[in-house]
C-alpha cells in the first residue's frame, strides 16, 4: 500500500492531536484486535501522553507518539501496527512465515501469494513443524485477521497485513492472494520521518 515514498505533507497541517475520548477508543480497539498486547499497552499507548494523528496519502491515518509511529488505519479497516512496534513486541501478534524466495518480492511491494506460505519454508498454523511460534494453539487463522509475516531465516518481521484467505483455505487451495495492501519493511510508511 505504501509503494510510493511520500512526505507527510506540510507537517503542522496534517498532524492533529487526538482527543482523549478518541484515544481511549483507539486503545480499546487495539486491545480487541491484539489481546496479547495488554500487559504492554501502557508502554505503547500511555494514557497521559498526547497521541498524534497524521494523515497520509491514500486516506490513511497514522497514530504516533511524538516521533514514534504506532498504528495505522486505512479508512475503516482494522487497525494495523507499524512494523517498528511489531519489531519491539513480536510475540504479541499472530505470525506466519514466508519462504526465503518470496522475501525479495514482498520487499518490493508485491502482493503476498499463498504459495509463499504453503511451500516448504513457509509456516502456517497447523503445519507439522510450526512450533510454538506459528501454531496459535492449534487454531486456524481467519480471513480478515491482521497477521505479521516473518521471513525464513530472519529474526525480524518483514511485513504486516490483513489476511485475504483463512489459513485452512490456503492449505486446501494452495493458490491465490494471501495478503494484500500490506505494510512492509522499507516502504513509504517505513521511510516516513516523523521528527
Amino acid at each position: 500500500m505504501f509503494k510510493k515514498d511520500f512526505n507527510a505533507g506540510s507537517k503542522t497541517k496534517q498532524e492533529q492531536q487526538v482527543k482523549s475520548s478518541a484515544q481511549r477508543g483507539i486503545r480499546t480497539k487495539v486491545l480487541e484486535t491484539y489481546p496479547r498486547l495488554e500487559p504492554y499497552i501502557d508502554d505503547i499507548l500511555p494514557k497521559k501522553e498526547q497521541l498524534d494523528l497524521l494523515k497520509i496519502p491514500d486516506r490513511v491515518n497514522l497514530y504516533c507518539l511524538h516521533s514514534t509511529p504506532l498504528f495505522w488505519q486505512h479508512m475503516d479497516d482494522p487497525i494495523i501496527p507499524h512494523l517498528q512496534l511489531v519489531h519491539k513486541y513480536p510475540w504479541c501478534f499472530s505470525r506466519v512465515r514466508i519462504d526465503r524466495g518470496g522475501v525479495r518480492f514482498v520487499l518490493s511491494g508485491a502482493t503476498l501469494m499463498v504459495p509463499g506460505l504453503t511451500s516448504p519454508g513457509g509456516r502456517l498454523p497447523g503445519d507439522e513443524d510450526a512450533g510454538e511460534v506459528y501454531d496459535h494453539g492449534g487454531k486456524d487463522l481467519e480471513a480478515g485477521e491482521v497477521v505479521v509475516v516473518d521471513a525464513e531465516g530472519k529474526v525480524n518481521a518483514c511485513m504486516v497485513g490483513v489476511l485475504k484467505m483463512g489459513s485452512k483455505e490456503m492449505k486446501e487451495k494452495k493458490k491465490g492472494i494471501a495478503i494484500e495492501n500490506h505494510h512492509y519493511v522499507g516502504d513509504g510508511l517505513w521511510k516516513l520521518d516523523l521528527s
Partner: protein, 198 residues
Amino acid sequence: MATTEASPGDLRPAKKVVYCGVCSLPPEYCEFGGTTKRCSEWLENNHPDLYIQLYSEEALSQNLSTLSVDAQKRAEKDAKKKAAKAEAAESREAERKASSKVYIKRVERNKRKYVTEVSGLEHFGLDLKKVAKEFGKKFATGSSVAKTAAGGEEITVQGDVSDDIFDWLTENHEEVPEDNIELIEDKKKKSGAGAGAG
C-alpha cells in the same frame, strides 16, 4: 499463542532492534535494499557482532542453499539490478542538489515596501514551515509559506531582508552551498499576495 516462556503472563521487555544506518532496515534485510555493500561496511564498523552473525561464510552459504540454482541466479540478477538502480538514483539526486538553486527575490509591494520571496528550498530537504517560522522570528517580521504558479512552494517574508536571508542561510544551513543561492530583484507589482503573509 504460547510465548516462548511457558506462562502467558510473563512480561518481556520490548525487544531492542538495531536498524542499519545506511538503509534503515534491520541489518538482515540489507541485502534486498540495493545498498548492500555500504550496509555491510556500516555494520562492520558499528556492530561487529551482528556483522559476523550475518555476513560470515556459513551464514551466506546458508542463505543461498535453500534456493534452487535458478532461483539463486535470479536472486543475484535482481540484487545487481537493484544496486544499479539505487546508485543511479543517488547520483541523480546529487546532481539535482548541486544544480538546484535557491532564489531570493525582492518584490515591491507598495512604493516603499518590499516583500522577500525565497523559493527552491525544498530541493535541499528543508522543512518550509519550520524555516518560515525561523525567518519570522529572526527578522521580527511576518512570514508564510505560499504556493507558486509552477506548483512549488516558497516562503514570503515581509520587508526587504534578502541580504539577511542570504547570510543566514549560508551560516545556519550548510546544506545550501553559497553558489546555489541567487538574489533577484523583481520589478513586478505583487498585489495582495505580498501582504498575505502571516
